[in-house]
């Protein structure tokens, strides 16, 4: 399988859970989604450090924090 096909396949796999969103979950069914372990964390200071380290030590950027590059001498 060529690399382009692999990328398309992985994108489709990543997006496939969205298909489940076609059916609405009623509000009284969302109790488990409110569990503390289910909350997407948003600690900005940790995200800032993680993004800076990953972006400066790897060749890629985006998907962590609010920047896909720039704003730091390390990019």
């Amino acid at each position: 399988m060529c690399r382009k096909s692999q990328v398309i396949l992985i994108v489709l796999l990543l997006l496939s859970p969205l298909a489940a969103g076609c059916s609405t979950v009623e509000y009284y069914e969302k109790q488990n989604l409110q569990d503390a372990a289910m909350q997407f964390e948003g600690d900005p200071s940790e995200v800032h450090f993680q993004a800076k380290v990953y972006y400066s030590m790897e060749g890629s950027a985006g998907g962590i924090g609010d920047s896909g590059g720039g704003g730091c001498g390390c990019y």
Partner: protein, 405 residues
């Protein structure tokens, strides 16, 4: 290149407009789950702040990578970063809140060793970075949220001004929230080469736009997905990076590891870059206080780098209302940039020996512990160990305290 970025940007705007411009009847406020953050990500926050809530977060982060002859064979690439961070957050009213971030980095790099040879060597040789960001967030009607930010940062040889804005809204009947954000950084660099030679000032502009989608998938599963497109223009090389042109007939060069035969010249990279990243994560409920998460990202740019990361996590409440834990693993793989070479024998139009632009894989193992104190404060400890295929292994550690008042 610019056309490619504009196409991606136009696609993102069209997608956002299609949702944002949907008939009002399709817009409903979510109920039964937390509201999304006003950061454009669309992801829910654990607790919606109440009017009057204030908090001060203090974090100390530490990063270190050694170099035992790995990576670039001609240079020592060991690096240590210590970063204290202070964040003050105030929810002024139900509809408006703001935050002020102050970041300071102390950077100690191996290139400081070269100061004895090149006293004017750049800010990479023991550098101080300071940055601050002011951000505001607004809860609008019908579940719409908006935010904006302004940031300033500077280093020895670098100044940056940043702007950001985001908007998100729920999507009716879909248990979803869509968000769109845009951030721009306008940087000014003093070009100080590897040998201390000063080469004037150069500008760099980076504009990123992200479209994101948060989705409740089942009563036990939700996720967040997005795409970021970035366009960078200007001076994109690292000023102090050098490339070694090897010459078997040259005398040993005392400035290079192992007194290699050859001479150094400045790294040269293209002055524009278009970067695209698709990312997503889903989290599933197992039982009270236990959840799993799968995350990933696919990245591609026109410098020839494609990368893939995969990150499973496990969340566990260890002591109810007292201690939470998270463990994670991250696999990362990237291809080399077109202009990367481990060895050069003649100067080329574009050339780099930066190990971070080489082909590499890494495996990260880490986790975090969060203590919840009786007064609502939190103490968090995080530790990650990165094992890289080029031997430049890394340690990341963080400790933070969030005080609410």
């Amino acid at each position: 290149m610019l056309l490619r970025f504009l196409r991606v940007f136009a696609l993102l705007v069209i997608v956002a407009l299609l949702v944002i411009a949907a008939p009002p009847g399709l817009v409903v406020a979510q109920s039964g789950t937390s509201s999304p953050e006003a950061d454009g990500s669309g992801e829910p926050n654990s607790a919606e702040p109440q009017a009057g809530d204030r908090s001060l977060t203090t974090r100390l982060s530490f990063y270190n990578n050694g170099d035992s002859g790995d990576g670039n064979p001609f240079l020592d690439e060991s690096l240590t970063v210590v970063e204290p961070v202070f964040i003050f957050d105030h929810q002024v009213t139900d509809a408006f809140g703001y935050a002020i971030d102050i970041h300071y980095d102390y950077v100690s790099s191996a290139s400081i060793d070269r100061l004895s040879d090149f006293p004017e060597q750049s800010g990479a040789s023991a550098d101080n970075y300071i940055g601050t960001k002011l951000s505001g967030r607004w809860n609008l009607s019908d579940g719409w949220k908006a935010g904006g930010s302004f940031s300033v940062s500077g280093e020895y040889d670098y100044k940056s001004i940043g702007f950001g804005g985001n908007i998100s809204r729920p999507v009716a009947g879909q248990d979803a929230t869509i968000g769109l954000s845009i951030h721009g950084y306008f940087d000014d660099l003093s070009i100080i080469r590897y040998n201390g030679e000063q080469d004037g000032n150069e500008a760099r502009t980076s504009v990123s736009t992200t479209a994101s989608w948060y989705q409740v998938l089942t009563p036990d599963l939700h996720g967040s997905f997005g795409v970021t497109a970035t366009f960078q223009d200007g001076f994109l090389s690292t000023p102090y990076n050098a490339v070694v042109i090897e010459d078997p007939l040259a005398p040993p060069n005392p400035n290079l590891d192992n007194n290699a035969l050859g001479f150094e010249t400045a790294e040269v990279l293209p002055d524009a870059r278009v970067r695209t990243a698709f990312f997503g994560r889903v989290r599933g409920f197992v039982s009270t206080g236990r959840a799993w998460e799968l995350g990933g990202r696919i990245y591609s740019d026109d410098w020839g780098i494609t990368s893939f990361s995969f990150e499973p996590r496990w969340y566990q409440t260890v002591i109810e209302s007292k201690l939470d834990a998270m463990v994670r693993y991250r696999f990362y793989s990237q291809t080399a940039a077109d202009d990367y070479g481990e060895h050069f024998f003649v100067p080329e139009q574009f050339m780099t020996q930066d190990s971070d632009l080489a082909e590499l894989n890494s495996n990260t193992i880490g986790g975090r512990l969060i203590w919840h104190l009786d007064d609502g404060d939190h103490i968090s400890l995080g530790l990650d160990h990165v094992l890289r295929s080029d031997g430049l292994d890394q340690i990341l550690a963080t400790c933070s305290w969030e005080h609410s008042f």
